[in-house]
Structure formats: C-alpha cells, structure tokens
C-alpha cells in the first residue's frame, strides 16, 4: 500500500487543508518544531497523490504544520499506492497514530464519525472492525457514548481531552440544547466539579427540570443557586457542597426537611464533638446510633449525664417522632 522508496516532495504541493485522513487536531507543535530544528524530520510523512499537481496528507499532519511554520521547502515522504482505497488509508492513518499514542475520547469520536459519515460504514461494521482497534469493546454502548463527542463545541472538547469531564456526561451533553449545555458547563467550571459530582448534579438537575417542567438553564437561574455561585467568599468546593444541599432539598423535600429538623435538634442540645447521634440511613428504620468516647469513669459518667439530659429534655422523644 505504501511505496517502499522515499520521495522528496515540495511542501507547497501538499494540500494541508485537506483533512480527509486527519484524526487528531495539530494541537501544540512547538516541541516538534524544536525537534525538527535540531535533527530534522526523522520519519517521512505519508502522502496520497490527489492529482498531477497536489498531494493529500495521510499521515504526518503535525510534521507538515511544523515544517510549514519553519519554512521548510521539501519533505521526505512515502507515496501510497494509487490503488489503495481511502478507507484503507484511513485505517493506515489510525494505525500509525495509535502506534504513537492512545486516542483520547475526541480522537475516538472523530474516527467513528469519519468512518460512518465519510467512509459510509454501517454502525455494526464500525463496532466490529474498528472499536477494538481503538481500544474498546465491540459494544453499542461504547459506540453511542463516543460517537457524539466530536460534535461538541471546543470548550467541552477541551474538558474531555483534559479528562476534566466524564465521557458519560459529555456524551449526554450532545443531546442537550445549547442553553442547558452552556449552563451546565458554567456549573462545572465555577465549582470545579469532579466527575462523580458532575454525574450527581446532572442526575439531580435532570429530575428537577422534569419535576418543575423548566429547562436546566432556567432552574439554575433561581435565586438560591445564583447566590451560591456568586458568593465570592466561598471556595469552589464550598459552593459545590451548598449547591448540592440545595439540589437535594428540592429533589427530596420531605427527607431533607426531616434531616434539617434532626440536625437542628442535635445543634440545639450542644452535644460535644466526641459524641455522635445518627439516625438510620435516610431514616429508613426507627433505630438511632450513639457513639461516644471516654477515658475513665468520670468521663463515662459525664457522657451518660449528657445522654440522660437528652431524655429528660424531650430531645430523644422528638428524634423518635421524626422517624
């Protein structure tokens, strides 16, 4: 498929704008420029003859970009066999890229997208013959997850490449309208949400939107949320905690009200920090747990007195009534 001999090709005869076989964006080529300055282009690029005058890049987009930036006039290149199909050359480009680095999710998505829209492969064929090549199982779930990523705007793509957003969330964003996607991006950035929080916030917001029959962009504009985001005194992590509490308060109002009443009771009776009283998870049972520490009989006696006072003051009764 690829010629065994190396040709020297004029850079100006290469159509650098033809991205048929391009999978990865050129990105930062400064390192490559420095390398070429020092040792020249070590590996020849691979080109396809477009017509009598012009060549199309199959492999070597970054080297071409760097060479252009350096004003290099000629590049060493392998010229592919004229009988090679575009799909075969795209596979060659993928294999060459994969021999150097793992594809990030956007590259996987770009590859899937091109295989389907440019080379007209069926989903089944992409799953069977290409997903394993890209390091994934032949699984429709994987396909559906990655396929839409390359259509997301630059901000989201950068988050994906930087591993700052989960692929699941990013993939979901492709089916969300611009306003909601933008609003969620603001939340991720303002509160520096980790992937688990992104998933949790998205699930809660999604449900709240359905319950209130409003869009996500509208929900997060509510005063309670806006105040949290605008509060300059809060760190991103504190904002996330408060935002989460507010989300839960709206999503699970009865439970959160009970939890707040319980917390208020505990606060009111000023229990020392080394004593804890906990209800069952989500108040699902009547049981409570009390933990305390003591070093000697006096401390033990003091703790018991505190517990007895809870009984005498009616706090225990109020707690039990909460369940």
């Amino acid at each position: 498929m690829v010629a065994k001999s190396i040709s020297t090709i004029k850079v100006k005869s290469i159509d650098g704008r033809d991205s048929l076989f391009q999978i990865s964006p050129p990105g930062d080529v400064d390192c490559l420029i420095a390398s070429i300055k020092e040792v020249g282009t070590v590996n020849p690029i691979i080109l396809q003859r477009k017509d009598s005058q012009r060549y199309r890049i199959v492999v070597g987009f970054r080297r071409y970009t760097a060479a252009t930036a350096l004003g290099i006039k000629e590049l060493a290149a392998f010229i592919v066999d004229e009988n090679a199909t575009d799909l075969e050359l795209f596979r060659l480009a993928m294999l060459d890229n994969l021999s150097i680095h793992h594809f990030n999710p956007i590259e996987v998505s770009t590859a899937i997208h091109k295989l389907q829209t440019v080379f007209h492969l069926e989903k089944e064929e992409v799953m069977r013959s290409y997903l394993p090549l890209l390091g994934h199982g032949s699984n429709p779930h994987v396909y559906d997850l990655y396929a839409p990523l390359c259509k997301l705007d630059e901000s989201w793509q950068q988050l994906i490449i930087g591993d700052l957003v989960s692929v699941e969330i990013a993939s979901l964003m492709s089916s969300v309208n611009d306003q909601d996607r933008g609003a969620f991006l603001i939340l991720i950035k303002a509160m520096q949400l980790g992937k688990n929080r992104q998933r949790e916030f998205w699930a809660l917001l999604h449900d709240l939107c359905r319950i209130s029959q409003r869009s996500l962009a509208e929900v997060v504009q509510d005063t309670d949320f806006s105040k949290i985001l605008a509060d300059q005194k809060l760190t991103p992590s504190q904002k996330a905690d408060r935002f989460r509490t507010e989300l839960l308060r709206r999503r699970y109002p009865r439970f959160m009200q009970t939890q707040a009443q319980f917390d208020a009771l505990i606060k009111e009776c000023k229990i020392p920090p080394d004593m804890q009283i906990r209800p069952s998870s989500f108040f699902s049972c009547e049981e409570f747990q009390i933990n305390f520490e003591f070093k000697n009989e006096q401390e033990y006696q003091a703790k018991l007195q505190i517990l007895n006072s809870l009984m005498e003051n009616g706090v225990i009764k109020k707690m039990v009534e909460l369940t």
Binding site: P140, R210, I211, Y252, P253, R254, F255, F282, C285, T323
Partner: protein, 369 residues
C-alpha cells in the same frame, strides 16, 4: 372507559425441542396457525441472545415455548428486614405484554421474550409431591410473579387446569393475579373456591399512563364482578402505589369502585405496596420509559437497599388507604407487601409481627372453601 381489550398475538413462536410433544405446545400452536414457528434445540441460548441490549427490539412479540428446568414452585424470597407473607410462586411463564413502566421484570428478566413453560406434567408432579408431602402446611400459590396470570390464557388455557387441580386441595389455594379482563376460561369451572382471582389495581391516572398495555380499572373491576358471580374469591393488589400530586383522589376513587363491584365477604384480601425497585432498575426504567414520571418521587435506598419512597410518605399512603377500605368494610383483610414491622404499626396501628404471623392471617382467609 375501555382501554381496548387486546389479546397478545405472537409475531413468531420458538419451540424448544424438549417440549415439542407437550400437549400445551400443541394447544398453543393450534391457536396460532398462521404464526411462523421455529424449533430450537435449547431455550437458554435463545434467552441469552434476547438479553443482548441491541437485540431486544428484535425479540419483541416472540413467544418461546420452553421446558422449565428448575423447580416450578419457589417460596417468595422476601426481602431482608421486611415482613413477607411466605407466598409460593409458581413460575409457569416469564415475561409480560402489558409494558407497565414500573415493572420489575424489565430488570429481572432483562429480555423482551415471552416464555411459557410447557412441561405441565412436571409441574403437576412437583405440585403433588409438595402438597402431599406437607399435608399440614398451607400453601398460597400464585402464578403472577414473573408474568401476568391471565394475559396469555387465551393461548394456553392453563387457568382451567390450575383451577381444576386446586379445586380438591385442602392445604392450598391458587391465586391468579392479573390486570387482564380475559376471564372467560374461568367461567363455569368447578373451582370449589380454591382459586382466588386477584386484580392489580391502581389510581385511574396511573393505570392509564403507566400501565399502557393493560385494560382500564373499570374493565378490570367489571371482570372481577363477573368472577364474583361465578363464585370465586377475589383479591385486589394496589402494588405499586405511586406517589403523585393527586394520589389521594385517585386511589380513593379506585377503592370506592372496588366496593361497588365486589362484596366484602368475597374479598380474600387487599394488599398495599408502594413503588420499590432495586437501584439497578432505575436506569432501565429511565431508558425504557423516558417520559414516565414514576422515578421522580422521593425514592431513597431502604434497609433492603431497594429504592422506596421516604418512609413517612409510604406510611401516609398506607394509612389513608387502610382507612378508606375499612370505611367500606371492617371485614376485609388489608395487608402490606414487603414492609417493616414499624411501617405496619405506624400505618395500621398493629402489625402481624413476623412472616409467620402474616402468613397465618392470610391463610385463615382461605383455609376452608
């Protein structure tokens, strides 16, 4: 009033070789002469194929006639820290055509096949051994766990055999639990009141929006009236109850309707259960029924790690339902399905205290003909 009464009609029938000669298979095939039939060596391979996510739609409407290789009769596994009535499930089918949004079978079976187990000779041998070897134990047995008891009865006629079999049993009753209104097979049988025919009921709105393939509440109750006339004991199950904005109005309306159709002395029991499902089912419901609001309630992990409504919500629903039912009749036994002793006490003011306690209460309702 009517949400079109429709009969399930398979698009294709797969017959496992092991049951090819079974009478039930011949009966089903005779009632579906124009349906394509394929014989398969092993049903488990078919079921595995049907469980592949992207293949699910291709198996929609396919009927698999298979051999039940495990036991037909299973004690309800119950759920930890909750009171169970110690019911026995008779697995004669797996899968349902009613497409209820909340249905646990979506996660439990994980395929869209309808499987009917056709080795009835094994079924009756197993039943006979069980009932004969434990003459002093009373069994409430039902076929409505992995399927609807009557929705495929127009194909199988199985209800006739079950009613007949149980009619002379002194230590067992069969409960046919359904949303179907196809009760014609049950009419004119000598059931000897050893069959309880039960309907799963809900608020009208929920039935209409979340039980899209099922007949309306009115139609179900009409069917119950017909069987009451035929002398059957009736049961009603409000399970799952759904917490929605006008739930009080909706459920009260259905409770009131029950007593317009059924006489209290003919009601064996009415059960209540609030929506609950394993965490894993949440995503499945959202995928299969994206417009359904059922998962938008205050569902939180319970002591058994299933999602359930926040306890005070459940207690409030059960308490009201209990009151409404008792306003109509004090003699009807209302029980909770899979709830804790605490919830029983807070909702009803009393509790059977244990699985055995609840079993005794329910058995007593149907001990004698």
């Amino acid at each position: 009033m009517t949400q079109s009464i429709r009969n399930f009609r398979p698009v294709k029938i797969l017959v496992e070789e092991a049951v090819r000669q079974q009478e039930l298979v011949q009966r089903v095939l005779a009632r579906n002469v124009k349906i394509p039939i394929e014989y398969v060596p092993d049903a488990s391979g078919v079921i595995r194929s049907a469980q592949v996510a992207e293949a699910k739609s291709t198996w929609q409407g396919v009927l698999l006639l298979a051999k039940q290789r495990g036991p037909f009769l299973r004690l309800c596994p119950g759920t930890s820290k909750h009171i169970c009535c110690l019911y026995h499930n008779l697995d004669v089918a797996a899968g349902c055509d009613m497409d209820c949004s909340y249905c646990i079978l979506q996660g439990y079976l994980n395929n869209s096949l309808i499987t009917l187990y056709c080795n009835l000779d094994d079924l009756f041998v197993e039943l006979e051994q069980k009932l004969a070897s434990h003459p002093n134990q009373f069994y409430r047995i039902g076929t409505g766990e992995l399927s609807d008891s009557l929705t495929f009865d127009h194909l199988t006629g199985l209800s006739v055999e079950l009613v007949h079999y149980f009619s002379d049993k002194t230590n067992a009753v069969i409960e046919l639990k359904s949303k179907s209104v196809r009760v014609e097979n049950l009419l004119g049988l000598a059931h000897n009141r050893r069959t309880v025919v039960s309907w799963s009921l809900n608020a009208k709105t929920i039935a209409k929006e979340e039980e899209i393939g099922a007949p309306s509440i009115d139609d179900r109750l009409e069917a119950s009236k017909e069987l009451q006339r035929a002398g059957y004991r009736l049961g009603f199950h409000f399970d799952p109850m759904i917490d929605y904005p006008n739930w009080q109005e909706g459920y009260r309306e259905t409770v009131d309707k029950i007593f317009r159709f059924a006489k209290p002395q003919n009601i064996a029991w009415i059960s209540l259960g609030a929506l609950r499902y394993p965490l894993s089912l949440d995503a499945i419901i959202r995928q299969n029924h994206p417009d359904s609001p059922v998962m938008l309630g205050e569902l939180l992990p319970g002591a058994d790690h299933k999602l359930r409504y926040f306890k005070p919500i459940r207690i409030g629903m059960f308490r009201k339902m209990h009151q409404w039912i008792l306003q109509h009749s004090q003699q009807v036994l209302v029980y909770l399905c899979m709830e804790s002793d605490e919830v029983w006490r807070k909702a009803f003011g009393w509790s059977p205290g244990s699985n055995a306690g609840l079993k005794r209460l329910l058995d007593f309702r149907v001990l004698v003909s």
